[in-house]
């Protein structure tokens, strides 16, 4: 069977099964089984299990449940609420201050956890009613929460970077450190956008009233800073150990999870109920990532083994575009896929195929990992399939429709795209911090 035919059959089969509503893990896995069975031999099916066992022995992988657990316990313990209260007091007097506070909570929280759900859900529950009560514009209120929460996967620690480092063989520590500046750039873009919109039209996000401002003395503002003391402590510890290389990423995650428990305990929130609930959510979320990995890995392993990677390389390089043209072509494909697939699937299906092209073109794979992540930011907000949209719909009051949420996401999608352009135009934003890092450490 020729590679063209295999490519068409595999990907149209995948598309078909996914549209029928099959889980990504089973659809990709089943297609891999079928193709291996008919094109190779029944005996070769063992390769699927071999890959699965190989996956068990990746030490880095189980930083994933630890980071997810860390997020869940912080959420259950109400630490995120505290952060919001602190930021609200500082930015409230500005126009659009609450929305900016939401973005800042998202940014700071992103530096503690590696996932997006905890931030979007919690801010949707506490931040959204606070904003709607003050007559904030729906678009600004919803968008700031979703965009701020999505930063969780870009600013390290990040589950996406962990998977990328395994798939691409890049140093996870460097990816983590490289994600900081692009994350801050995006966060700043969101804040500036909100501030400008609310400055030009104060009705969109009215500042706190005089009475409320009078209550906010400097003393109270300073005392309430303790709300962000714990997260900042965890950030310093986790980043410090990764940046200097004293502990592996998994160990930092473990210690971070432990500190989060301590933090919850000081708030008397470390009950058995909270702990088990956080663990149960963690197990489901982790399995989702890992089983998708199983299936997608089997799928892409087969596709690469039959020469799919070279085929796609030839196809893409044969378009006659320059290096940046091809890079943008890849980015376009990723943005398109982001509308329909989840990031785990995109990562495992696309990175192994696109990475050789990136290397042929002479781009830095580390840099590609970071702009890939910036790109994936959009996949959380892009309709029809975006996690942030679903989480938001899950917690928003019933009079907010899916259309409202999607409309709110659009300007922030534009800002994320602008962020992507900035990171591609000035690679130094992504690569400056990793170049300072302790080298020779992986």
């Amino acid at each position: 069977m020729s590679i063209e035919l295999i490519t068409v059959l595999m990907f149209s089969g995948l598309l078909f099964l996914l549209l029928l509503g099959m889980p990504v893990a089973f659809a990709t896995g089943a297609l891999a089984v079928l193709f291996i069975f008919f094109l190779w031999s029944p005996e070769a099916l063992v390769v699927i299990a071999v890959r699965a066992f190989g996956q068990m022995y990746q030490y880095l992988l189980f930083a994933i449940p630890l980071f997810i657990f860390l997020a869940n316990i912080l959420q259950k313990a109400g630490i995120i609420e505290d952060m919001f209260i602190t930021f609200r007091e500082w930015t409230g007097p500005l126009g659009g201050g609450l929305a900016i506070a939401c973005v800042l909570v998202g940014t700071l929280l992103a530096a503690v956890v590696g996932v997006i759900g905890a931030a979007v859900v919690t801010m949707g529950i506490i931040g959204l009613p606070a904003m709607l009560k003050r007559k904030y514009n729906k678009g600004i209120a919803l968008g700031s929460i979703m965009a701020g929460g999505t930063l969780g996967i870009l600013i390290p620690p990040s589950v996406l970077f962990i998977l990328y480092s395994l798939v691409a063989g890049e140093s996870c520590g460097k990816l983590f450190i490289g994600g900081i500046l692009p994350g801050l750039v995006l966060s700043a873009l969101f804040c500036i956008y909100i501030a400008i919109r609310c400055w030009r039209n104060p009705k969109l996000g009215p500042p706190l009233s005089k009475e409320e401002r009078a209550k906010l003395t400097w003393k109270r503002k300073l005392v309430d800073l303790r709300g962000i003391a714990f997260p900042i402590g965890i950030i310093l510890l986790v980043f410090g150990s990764i940046f200097t290389g004293v502990a592996s990423i998994t160990e930092s995650a473990g210690v971070g999870a432990f500190l989060a428990c301590v933090c919850a305990a000081t708030k008397r929130q470390l009950t058995w109920k909270n702990f088990t609930a956080a663990s149960h959510q963690t197990v489901v979320a982790t399995c989702m990532v890992l089983w998708t990995m199983f299936g997608a890995q089997a799928f892409v392993t087969f596709y690469i083994a039959v020469g799919g990677s070279e085929f796609i390389s030839k196809l893409v390089l044969g378009t006659g575009l320059g290096p940046y043209g091809i890079l943008w072509l890849i980015m376009g494909i990723l943005i398109f896929l982001g509308c329909f697939l989840d990031w785990v699937g995109i990562m495992l299906l696309c990175v192994p195929i696109f990475l050789p092209i990136i290397k042929i073109l002479g781009f830095d794979p580390l840099w590609f990992g970071i702009i890939y992540n910036v790109n994936m930011q959009m996949s959380f907000l892009s309709p029809p399939f975006g996690y942030a949209l679903f989480y938001m719909k899950g917690v928003a009051p019933p009079d907010i429709s899916m259309e409202d949420i999607i409309k709110a996401a659009l300007p922030f999608l534009g800002l994320q795209f602008l962020g992507l352009i900035i990171c591609i135009k000035w690679p130094i934003i992504c690569l400056y911090l990793p170049s300072l890092m302790f080298t020779g450490f992986k």
Binding site: L17, L18, L19, L20, G21, M22, P23, A25, F26, A27, A30, A32, V33, L34, L45, V46, I48, A49, A52, F53, Q55, M56, Y57, F62, P65, L66, F69, N72, V115, G117, V246, A247, T250, E251, A253, G254, V255, A257, F258, C261, T276, A278, S279, H280, Q281, T282, V283, V284, A285, T286, C287, M288, V289, T292, F294, F340, D342, G345, P384, F385
Partner: protein, 179 residues
Amino acid sequence: MSFIDATSEYTGKFFGVMLILMLVGMIVVEVVRRYAFEAPIMGIQDVQCAYFGAYYMMAGAYTHLVGGHVKVDVVYAHFSPRRRAILDLITFPIGLLFICVLIWAGWRFAMDATWMRNAGWVLEVDQSHLRLPLYVIKWTMPIGTFLLFLQSCAKFVRDLYFVVTRKALDVVVTPEVIV
């Protein structure tokens, strides 16, 4: 049916809580030992990896029970529950292919690590200095995927019942999943 649900649920939850307790405990102890006493335990990372492998293998069924395996809800989500159930009935045998292969391959791996025809009991251990019982870990793959198999069958029966009678067989409580 409810027995299968309960098995998946308790296995998943048990491994979920245990993993966090064990891993966080082990990592904290390990880091303290390394820096405070300069006495790390060699090979502890393999133990952690092994636990983690067991964890996601055994919890796959629980994830399936609560509908945690990610789908592409572009067209599917807009269908009526009955049409969704029909589609699930159609895709069930396809998904089963993958699960069966995992059971079969996992079984072969686990058997090779446990018992051989001409050598008797093997009980393969890890190469590291802790002599970790590797065969126990290898058994989690066929067992975990078998649970997943049972869970898929349970879902199949529910869907079939729903499509035929237009009534739900029983209620499955699904907690909210956040990633």
